[in-house]
Symmetry: C2
Subunit: 387 residues, 2 copies
Amino acid sequence: MNNFQYCTPTRILFGKDVVDKLPEVMRPLGKRVLMTYGSGSIKRSGLYDKVMSLMKGFEVYELPDIEPNPKYTQSVVPGVKMCKEHKIDVILAVGGGSVLDCSKAIAAGACYDGEPWDLITYKVRTQAALPIVDIMTMAATGSEYDCGGVISRSETNDKVGYIDPHLFPVCSLLDPQLTFSIPPKHTRAGIADAMNHIMEQFFTEPYSLLNDGMCIAGLKSLMYNAPKVMANPEDYDARAEIFYTCTLACNNIFSNGNGRSGWPMHGMEHALSAYYDITHGEGLAILTPRWMKHILNEKTVGRFVTYGTELFGIDSNLDPMVIAEQAIQKTYDFFKELGLPMTLHEVGIDESRLGEMAHHVAQNEGLDKAWAPLSEKDILDIFKACL
Amino acid sequence: MNNFQYCTPTRILFGKDVVDKLPEVMRPLGKRVLMTYGSGSIKRSGLYDKVMSLMKGFEVYELPDIEPNPKYTQSVVPGVKMCKEHKIDVILAVGGGSVLDCSKAIAAGACYDGEPWDLITYKVRTQAALPIVDIMTMAATGSEYDCGGVISRSETNDKVGYIDPHLFPVCSLLDPQLTFSIPPKHTRAGIADAMNHIMEQFFTEPYSLLNDGMCIAGLKSLMYNAPKVMANPEDYDARAEIFYTCTLACNNIFSNGNGRSGWPMHGMEHALSAYYDITHGEGLAILTPRWMKHILNEKTVGRFVTYGTELFGIDSNLDPMVIAEQAIQKTYDFFKELGLPMTLHEVGIDESRLGEMAHHVAQNEGLDKAWAPLSEKDILDIFKACL
């Protein structure tokens, strides 16, 4: 087991109607609030009105229209400006992972005199951030229980992960009922995203029996409940379990002490959604089985054997390579049957820019140092296999 | 899934030589330190000297000789007095769960003007506590990552759990190498304690696939590594995995959203060790299979089926009651083979006070409201089955 540090100070309030606790959560944090949200689904669902009525007595400023794959110039910069102008005390993020990721970058930018991009790219170390409270309406990224976010800058095709301990939300209010209305496309993509978060932690060495068991438990929970919520979007227990698993899936609690994996699928997907603005979870679902197939070899096969026998119950007496190939096929089949697009063509990506993207990933994501190292050629081959 | 709140703000530094980070951990917390420790094994091992040399520049006061099953009158009261007299800023607990539990009660008592027992018994709500840093030398209780402690008061045969969010350690420094020298008796007892913590979270309803998987992962990790450390006490990876599993096993991360179990085995064991001062983990090992056998019925059998098939790989096609009975037998066998005492006689307890203890438990532990409710007669029957 490797040495590790771990600290997740975020308070989780999870369950039916926890949003009612918003005023008591917000009160100690200040009076001047920047409320961030996305395209307006919270207005259609009635959540916006509910939050506004709970926030009576606070001074609420609004930053709406935060995009999926949130943008630096369009959302982070204006948000930082608003915080400074209105002397904001606390950010209230209401929406999915994109809204919260964007709010994290705003929270840090608001406490920094220079260009926020310096912080996001680690040119300058983050020294402080405004407190953040979130009400999540999507089960996917786990941003509600980690200290990271992903910010895109369209001008340069950058999509970068920004991680800093100052970015943990103070409190995450998670009501599974708010996820009933997620459209099927995003329910699926969220599940694929969280599954991939777990795989990125699992496929590495060293590992432990405890971490392996927790990873498999998380994957089983998502895979068992996924068809249930597709069939009945208001299945509370299934939505709840998916939501909570997503919450834990991205903050290292499943992999403390494991070796560094390098998060290769995320590294590659960031290029896909930076260049083509596709849905992150769909990009991951497409990449996952192709990445697996590409890196499978004598050195990596052991992890696939554990994955295949423990998750899918594949007979452990089979040849390890056979177990691995069956496990990869079953992974593909699961995503496919869930209704996810499984080729780049389906999400509007053709071969024209694959080389450019592979070059960008090779330059920026450090995947040559991943558990299963990837050269630019490897990355391009994986992209091509996804067409 | 039930609604829940969860927040564990403790920072974990885990791995080889993390104790070297002590000065940087302590510096922001203050200069005047109360160092608490036990019988002196830290002096024999050299850890005391190491800590003292790291603490140069701090003003260190010492509270040694904290007992196993730490005592209110003998340790908590004098510790609180020292904190007040010397205006202590921060407590540094060096030792096992008893030292840390005791330090938590001292930390709260130091910030309260009345009798600390008021806080421990919830007569008065805890409003504040001194910050605590710990260096754990035992893998067992998980006190390093929870906000509870157990304090005994011999005069009244009380042994009470004291839980409050102010009691989370600020930072826990956990070096598996420090557990190499734990004697076999306490290595076994620590493993039994942590296994029981997980079982107390597992045997209840409702439950989730995620929590079940995490509980089983924790149990597998402990059971797989237990014989390894018994055979080779300096097996770093086995010690590390046991230590980390113990750390997670008592803070609800394995059971958020599960129903309340009532922690029945702990409720009963507290009487055994309050009346006879036995080793907590040994008491739990003795009680576990007898409690299981006693509560097994048509209503509870489902949990035993999951436990038996997932943990021991018992054939799921067998009759549920057969699976349950096999699982209980295997639990007994595991403890027995590990070398734990499996009868009350072996730990010096005879029938003379069983009735008195059962009455005490029935009066004080609320086990009539446990998942599998226990009357005073049930408790007495379980005690008798342990003889």
